[in-house]
Symmetry: C2
Subunit: 217 residues, 2 copies
DNA sequence: ACCTGAACACCGTTCAAGT
DNA sequence: ACCTGAACACCGTTCAAGT
């Protein structure tokens, strides 16, 4: 699994072949079929490892706020550090089983704090969508080149080929090489988290349900 | 291109082979190489068509608000209707050239209305990340099965196999079959859009720059 | 410029055979 | 249970050849 992810990192998702993995661990391609039924199962395993790496970075699990923040930041950071892993997100399979424990704890904590079930999903979705969507947005907007220079070139190329046609695009492209994407992500994730917290408080007031535990907030 | 997207729809992304496309349009595989240099160029073309389909559904381009709302809703709706197209998002290549005109118009309108360049990117990213991230979140959470039943099964399976272990997961899973994801997405996108508008107003006050045109607001 | 058909180097996977 | 090696049906792509 680790070998597969490391190949993905270096060669891209298309480079992850059963033959390549086998070669790297010094075995025959068919030897791997003892451990995975087929390639789709191998991708499931990679998704599993991805989720583990994301949740491993979470610093605190004492409140739903810190868990939600941790899982969102982790997803963003890991996918930014390993852009070639993003195709794993688009694959089928649902939440990997390695994530059941964490998600269960997160939801338990949210429900305990007064979230309605649908509001918990809404909050969870709001924050996580922003995190993984940010990675996709940066890639879609700026391209997925390894070096920033390539991204700038991608955005500037059409502008230069037809001067004046895309004036606003050009004015943004001119600034892009001085951007730190974290400065875009950071206020965004903060804003989502405070918004979610405000919704929780309001939902608690409406339902008249008190907090289960003051200590966690 | 349309044939490629239709195969993607029916057979999944892995089914999109040069041989399959050629067979469907009644030609030899090698005949396609007159129109695409290689498979990566073919994927670029598919991304291009995807963007065109998304922006075709935009109802009004009179204000940056309606453009931003339109592109976000379009991305969400198209990807929900064609889940097998999501892998195209994870591919490299940057913004397809068919999107230059629209994005240029959007940014021009935002800059005119008083957004700083970085704030325009922030707002654009906030709304679009939520839209495409929502699709991914629903797939990651619920799996990508065609039928809702399969999604429920995916979430319920671990719960049933180890009863009581994931109580909160189970309580959410029990409600999932009555959910309409649009009811999660709808308030989310509304909230993002009003938030962005508030930020624009504040940014305009801070810079002391007046609106370029009252009519557009 | 556009299309063909044979060929090449790859891929996931099956199968029969070994330990 | 675990591993091998040959084989099969596929894939993207090259190449020489045709119009």
């Amino acid at each position: 699994m680790e070998v597969a992810l490391s190949i993905d990192d270096r060669e891209g998702f298309d480079g992850v072949t059963i033959r390549a993995i086998a070669g790297e661990i010094g075995a025959t391609p068919m030897a791997l079929y003892t451990y995975f039924s087929d390639k789709s199962a191998l991708c499931d395993g990679m998704r599993d490892r991805l989720f583990v790496q994301i949740s491993d970075g979470i610093v605190s699990r004492r409140s739903w706020q810190s868990m939600l923040e941790g899982i969102a930041r982790g997803a963003y950071r890991i996918l930014r550090d390993h852009p070639n892993w993003t195709p794993l997100l688009a694959h089928d399979g649902g939440l990997p089983s390695s994530g059941f424990g964490f998600i269960n704890d997160l939801w338990e904590s949210m429900l305990k704090e007064g979230f309605a079930v649908e509001d918990a999903m809404r909050a969870h979705g709001c924050v996580m969508s922003f995190a993984v969507g940010s990675v996709l947005f940066e890639r879609t907007m700026m391209g997925a080149g390894d070096v920033l220079a390539k991204r700038i070139a991608l955005l500037k190329r059409p502008v230069e080929s037809t001067p004046g046609q895309y004036a606003s695009l050009a004015s943004v492209a001119a600034k892009v090489d001085r951007w730190r994407w974290d400065d875009i992500f950071e206020p965004g994730i903060r804003s989502r988290l405070t918004g979610v917290e405000a919704n929780c408080a309001r939902s608690r007031r409406q339902s008249g349900r008190p907090r289960a535990s003051r200590a966690q907030a």
